[in-house]
């Protein structure tokens, strides 16, 4: 014998949808800027249809059951799209919890006897709570994916390699240098070295907040990789406090060409390439003297 809600609810789809939509529209948190009412209606209808279908086929409240696979899928899809569209967790949760209210309203209206009504409400409650949990989970997963994508985008754009002179590249590093970022920095730098046939790379660390032994190791690795390619690497932008920490930590940078500022590094690069920068006119004066 099927439970009352399994018999009753599927036949009331239109009524439930109507109450649900009204509840959602009434809610102050409705984001008409992110989603049109039509789209909201479509989403609600789709989800309700699959839920009622599942309730009709499987009378248990175990959402791991086969009948609920489709519901979980639809629900996850909706939460994911809401997460990436910028909905807040509250707005996403309200979507599911207002359905609970709608279902209970319909049950109340159709079952007069409190004794019969109570177990049905408990059942609907349990089911919708589980749906709510799924919504949270997938919502957070969706946000994590957004974060992951942004992280990789930031690493991409925050490591520009600039050609400052023919044969000289500069790479200003801004922010912390962890191992994932070091790999991106190295790869971008080495590819650019090949592309521009540059023989000198200047790594400017003015924008690196702190240099500990791990960061230093990453810098040393980058220098070593540059040398393997056949180019020389100069590290510039070393602030006094960073020089102090480096020595206090006992980090050996003696094999690495370090300069206080980018200007100094550039001057060194010029002299390595046997180039000179002079004020106009000075040249002739010197040769006549």
């Amino acid at each position: 014998m099927k439970s009352l809600s399994a018999q009753l609810l599927p036949s009331k789809q239109v009524e439930i949808l109507d109450i649900w939509i009204k509840l959602q529209l009434k809610n102050e948190g409705l984001r008409s800027d992110l989603m049109s009412n039509d789209a909201l209606k479509r989403e609600s209808e789709e989800l309700l249809k699959t839920i009622l279908e599942a309730i009709r086929n499987d009378d248990t409240t175990d959402i791991k059951g086969e009948a609920y696979d489709k519901v979980v899928e639809v629900l996850a899809g909706i939460s994911l799209s809401r997460a990436s569209n910028g909905f807040s967790p509250r707005e996403t949760a309200y979507f599911v919890f207002s359905l609970k209210e709608a279902l209970i309203t319909v049950l109340e209206k159709n079952i007069a006897e409190p004794k019969e009504l109570y177990p049905e409400i408990v059942k609907v409650n349990k089911l919708l709570d589980d749906f709510g949990l799924i919504t949270f989970e997938t919502f957070i997963k969706g946000r994590e994916e957004v974060i992951l994508r942004q992280t990789s985008e930031i690493t991409e754009i925050s490591t520009p390699v600039i050609q400052v002179w023919s044969g000289i590249l500069a790479l200003p590093i801004i922010g912390t240098l962890d191992s994932a970022r070091t790999q991106v920095v190295m790869e971008n730098l080495l590819l650019k070295i090949v592309e521009t046939e540059s023989t000198i790379a200047i790594l400017d660390i003015s924008g690196v907040p702190a240099v500990d032994s791990l960061v230093a190791q990453h810098l040393i690795k980058t220098v070593a990789a540059t040398r393997l390619m056949g180019a020389e690497c100069i590290i510039s932008g070393i602030r006094p406090e960073i020089a102090q920490t480096i020595v206090h930590l006992g980090i050996d940078l003696s094999n690495i060409n370090t300069k206080a500022s980018l200007a100094h590094a550039l001057r060194t690069a010029f002299s390595l390439l046997k180039l000179e920068v002079r004020k106009v006119g000075e040249y002739s004066k010197n040769t006549h003297a």
Binding site: M186, L190, K221, A224, A225
Partner: protein, 130 residues
Amino acid sequence: MEKIPILKMGDFLLVTVQVDLYDRLALGLESDLVNMIRKYSSRGVLIDISAVNIVDSFMGRILGNIAQMSKILDAHTVVVGMQPAVAITLIELGLPMTGVHTALNVEKGMAMLRDKLFLTEETPNDSDNN
């Protein structure tokens, strides 16, 4: 047996590795090169590895060996054209190959060899005449 060809160009020997190295091939190259240096009294060796996708510790060591052996026979070795991914991997592996001279490409490698040869044989008179 497969062999990597070695070209003689005046005082220099030229090697372009076009296939992925495996151990026996690399060992063969090592002994062939040393014999050629001796035979032609070569002064420089240029090894182009731009087509090599993988250099592991063994092949890295062979390159280091070649550099050291040719040094004993009074020839300089320059390894050119290492791919960025290979360079990053070697560093992560823990093989910075500090004893080996490197250059970006064949052209820069040849210039480097000429520089080295010129510097070691430079006398005051020579530089004036050139």
